[in-house]
């Protein structure tokens, strides 16, 4: 089926151009994944006065401090921060507040904000997710602010009408979306790699959806506002998927803890440096503290190593 999404307004800088400008200005294609692990928070998380209230409130305050310390430590090496929504949702109601606060803190540090929730649902519901993650919604009670993300990850299983409202919501504010195409986990083989009767795989078909939806949102630098998640753990797929999505920014998770290597990702950068965004979470936040370094120093060192490795590829 074909679902129309309005083209980007001329008054708004298309996301692809914002991305190119930001990558060049920061000399980085590195995305800091923020997936706070309650059992591995940095010492800064429990510094300062104890928070009052129930466990969820105290946990949320600690997670907020951890996230700020992480951003302070590595933002200079990064172009964006990817917030893993699940890790905030498990904090309960205070978690959603800390999610908003952390997004604002990352933005103030000059980072693009990626809401990693992998949402996808029927049209009216996808519209509600778009309001939640991007620009908010006008209501009889006044305007409800959204998370203000620059990008959100989207699960395309439900097809075009589940994708279109999220593209529209992102595009209206100069943002974009990243559709799951070929993820970094072993289970990606179960469904995404299935061969289709008409040729190609499920992932390749998803890639054609990325190219279709991005076609109306291409900036002057040639990058679209609809990109794809392609795991760094299976670089063998990358060349073919890049052929099918020549203008898509690719988010490449799975470097480090999941086994992916920056050196294998060159095809991602075919449309230019901003065509590939390297995402790393645990490998930065839990970088081995050599020489007795504190977590912030270790994280900064690992982030700078990843940044330099990716920058030298293009």
């Amino acid at each position: 089926m074909s679902v129309a999404v309005p083209a980007a307004s001329e008054a708004t800088t298309p996301f692809g151009d914002r991305l190119v400008d930001r990558v060049l200005a920061r000399e980085s294609q590195l995305i800091l994944g923020i997936d706070p692990d309650l059992r591995a928070l940095w010492p800064q998380a429990t510094d300062g006065p104890d928070a009052d209230g129930p466990p969820a409130e105290r946990a949320a305050v600690a997670v907020h401090r951890h996230c700020r310390a992480l951003i302070d430590a590595v933002a200079p090496a990064c172009v964006g921060a990817k917030l893993q929504l699940a890790c905030f949702e498990r904090l309960g109601p205070p978690g959603w507040r800390v999610l908003h606060e952390t997004a604002a803190y990352a933005r103030d540090a000059g980072l693009l904000v990626i809401a990693d929730g992998k949402r996808g649902d029927i049209d009216v519901t996808a519209t509600a997710y778009g309001q939640a993650l991007f620009g908010g919604v006008a209501s009889p009670f006044g305007r409800l602010p959204g998370l203000g993300a620059d990008l959100a990850t989207v699960n395309p299983l439900m097809g075009s009408d589940a994708i279109a409202p999220l593209v529209a919501a992102a595009r209206a504010g100069g943002g974009g979306v990243l559709l799951l195409v070929r993820t970094s986990n072993p289970g990606a083989a179960d469904v995404e790699d299935l061969a289709l009767a008409d040729g190609g795989t499920v992932a390749e078909r998803l890639a054609t959806l990325v190219d279709h939806f991005g076609g109306q949102g291409i900036g002057r630098h040639g990058l679209a506002d609809v990109g794809a998640v392609v795991g760094a753990t299976a670089p063998g797929h990358l060349l073919r998927l890049r052929e099918l999505m020549p203008r898509a920014p690719l988010l490449l998770p799975g470097v480090g803890a999941q086994g992916g290597r920056v050196e294998d990702l060159a095809p991602a950068f075919a449309p230019g440096r901003a065509g590939g965004l390297i995402s790393a979470s645990r490998s930065i936040a839990s970088a081995p503290a050599l020489d007795g370094a504190d977590p912030a120093t270790a994280a900064r060192r690992e982030a700078e190593r990843l940044r330099a490795a990716a920058w030298s590829l293009a």
Copy 2:
């Protein structure tokens, strides 16, 4: 790939048995979909003292009142309530609080609670979603309570290792999960209906995942704790999918506003009345107010009509 999930503990009543008992006790297979639309809240939403605070707080209070009134009106005709997470998330931080409060209110009304978020992510993240939606998590700050859902919808695109942690989290507390198999929207044709080189369709392959994961969680009544979402809008798929998932509870959305008819859903009930759960949202909350009836009376009438239509099929 094969991912192991522990079998249900003998100390916990398996979800399938809880579902059968509840359906028989309430003589209903109807699920009330709660998708609060900010522009169509019931008059009760703005009764009572005005809430203070910013628009999001005032909207959240109104949504909470609306949801309580809706549950009060139609719970007697229903066996469960399906909370559409997107509609709470767009309220911002207060929305997650109202989500928890509404889940508790539905539970107190005797309803099973379905968290409809269609989550799906790599193993560590799926674990975090499981903690958020089901039983919570122990943390250094004390136990963080989860939403306490009985069921959650799960997007299976990422495969077995994205599904297993959610099945495990649900099963540990006597709950279950519902994998998207063939959804009710037009875009379902884009990916779910693709024909595979080895025969069958993507949806049929997803159905085999449902059957696989449910195999270790079958209750004495023969129903599993892993079910499927199969849209009521395409009943032609239902017979074949039921063959592939003989023990799965099926959630059947799309009745009413999306065009599905209860009368077409008989194959869902092959394993017994609890084998098919009819989900309706807008068609109940916005039922036409004939004879000048108020929204609650109109909703109650429509819910009872749907309940009786489904009950008479089995």
